[in-house]
């Protein structure tokens, strides 16, 4: 039951983007299309699961005073591994996400889960937490990316359904803020109702 809760909380009740408001920088910057949002989400999920498991294993080995530098080294290593792998085998996605892959290191959601969950729980629960939060994050980024792509370029997952330009502001930074603001409002309303 606890595991089930751990698995589902990331999607709705504790969704990292819409409820916890963590990791906004890559959320706003990389969701110009559904596919970009999804790939960024999955990249973060990869780092999140591995760093959660690793930190949960190491939690008794790390003294309190140096836990942040230790976590950061662990997270940064996984991010660099991911970056090298993407560069080698997925160069086209790497090119679009570019700068934001190394920035996963400072994504609050990764360090946040390490602090709040993995450092207090066992490896199994931490892995589930990583999957839940990572997929919840991916879901949020994909929704945001889809909305921005539909409104901003008139296409979805690269499939164009209207000719020419749509409401361009949605593929630009201001549109990211507007779309995210309204998604958070909708999410709040739904959560309020479900209570």
């Amino acid at each position: 039951m606890a595991n089930w809760n751990n698995l589902t909380k990331g999607f709705f009740k504790e969704n990292p983007v819409f409820v916890l408001l963590l990791g906004c920088c890559p959320t706003l910057a990389t969701t110009t299309s559904a596919i970009n949002g999804l790939s960024m989400g999955l990249a973060t999920t990869f780092v999140l699961i591995l760093s959660n498991m690793c930190i949960s294993l190491l939690k008794n080995f790390i003294p309190n005073k140096v836990h942040i530098p230790c976590y950061i080294v662990v997270i940064a290593s996984f991010v660099t591994v991911l970056q090298l792998l993407m560069q080698a085998y997925l160069p086209s996605i790497y090119e679009t996400l570019g700068l934001f892959i190394p920035l996963i290191v400072v994504n609050c959601i990764v360090l946040g889960r390490a602090e709040a969950f993995a450092s207090k729980n066992g490896i199994g629960a931490s892995a589930i937490d990583g999957i839940s939060m990572g997929l919840g994050y991916s879901m949020a980024l994909t929704i945001l990316g889809s909305i921005r792509e539909i409104l901003g370029s008139g296409s979805i997952f690269g499939w164009k359904f209207i000719e020419g330009d749509a409401i361009l502001v949605f593929v630009l930074a201001p549109g990211a803020f507007i779309a995210m603001g309204y998604l958070i409002a909708i999410m709040n309303r739904l959560l309020k109702k479900s209570k």
């Binding site: 330009d165 409401i167 361009l168 502001v169 949605f170 630009l172 201001p174 507007i178």
Partner: protein, 328 residues
Amino acid sequence: MNNYTISGSPHVHGGESTKKIMYSVIIALMPAFLFSIYYFGFDAVRVTLISVAACVMVEWLIQKFLIKGQCTISDGSAIITGILLAFNLPSNIPAWMIIIGSIVAIGIGKMSFGGLGNNPFNPALVGRVFMLISFPKAMTTWPTPQPLFSNALTDAVTGPTLLGHIKEGLAQGISAQDLIIYENIKDFIYSGSLGEIGSIAIIIGGLFLIIRKVIDWQTPVTIIATVGIVATACWLIDPVQFVHPMVHIFGGGLMLGAFFMATDMATSPMTMKGKIIFSLGIGALTIIIRLWGAYPEGMSFAILIMNAFVPLINKVCKPTRFGNTVKQ
């Protein structure tokens, strides 16, 4: 909802109501509207009607189905937003773009914050800037006006606004004096948005509002003076790089913004001192964007930026309590 406003006595009723103010503003906008009909013909009516209808409709729908509160559309503020939005648009803009602009102006610019009086930004300008960024092509190709009763041209011609023409010319290294020779600019001296072309009509409407004490005279005068002084100074220093100040004062949306948008009660500071700071900021930002920015016209950005500063300005310039004397 709390029906009572609690504040220190004494209270005096000014005989003013939101409705009365709003309808005065609508009357004041009429000269400019007639002017735009003269220059753009039926299109001006089309754009304005669609914009007003869409704004009122959006406000009604949101009130009825999302907020589920009292119906507020009769106060006339949505009509003003609609007219002001239309005045910021080119006359050949497609209807669906106007409707999206109206949804943004009322939905995002006003109702998201809780309706009239709670909106930090001028709704019409939120709509216009949204449209400018979203539809850059449609919002920067202006039809050359075909006045009523003149020989109609067979094809609709589009061109830049006067300010756009000057900006582009200067970027190419043409001197400012050559750029404003009448022969070269006579075709588009009146091209622009509906409310941009008739500075005189806007001033008439603005004076009406000042006489009716709906708006104060200090705000528009400070804005226009700031723009004028900076433009004159630059022009005196280097008349090759900088165009004659009259172009900046009477060109573009300066008059419309100064009289009708910067004076919006909900989005401007409360005290006179605050209003002067606010107006100085708008004037300075406008002329900075016009002279050195990427866009030829900076009025709408300047007002929106200063709108964001209003809470801070209000904090610095608090209204003095009635009966308080200034401590020496």
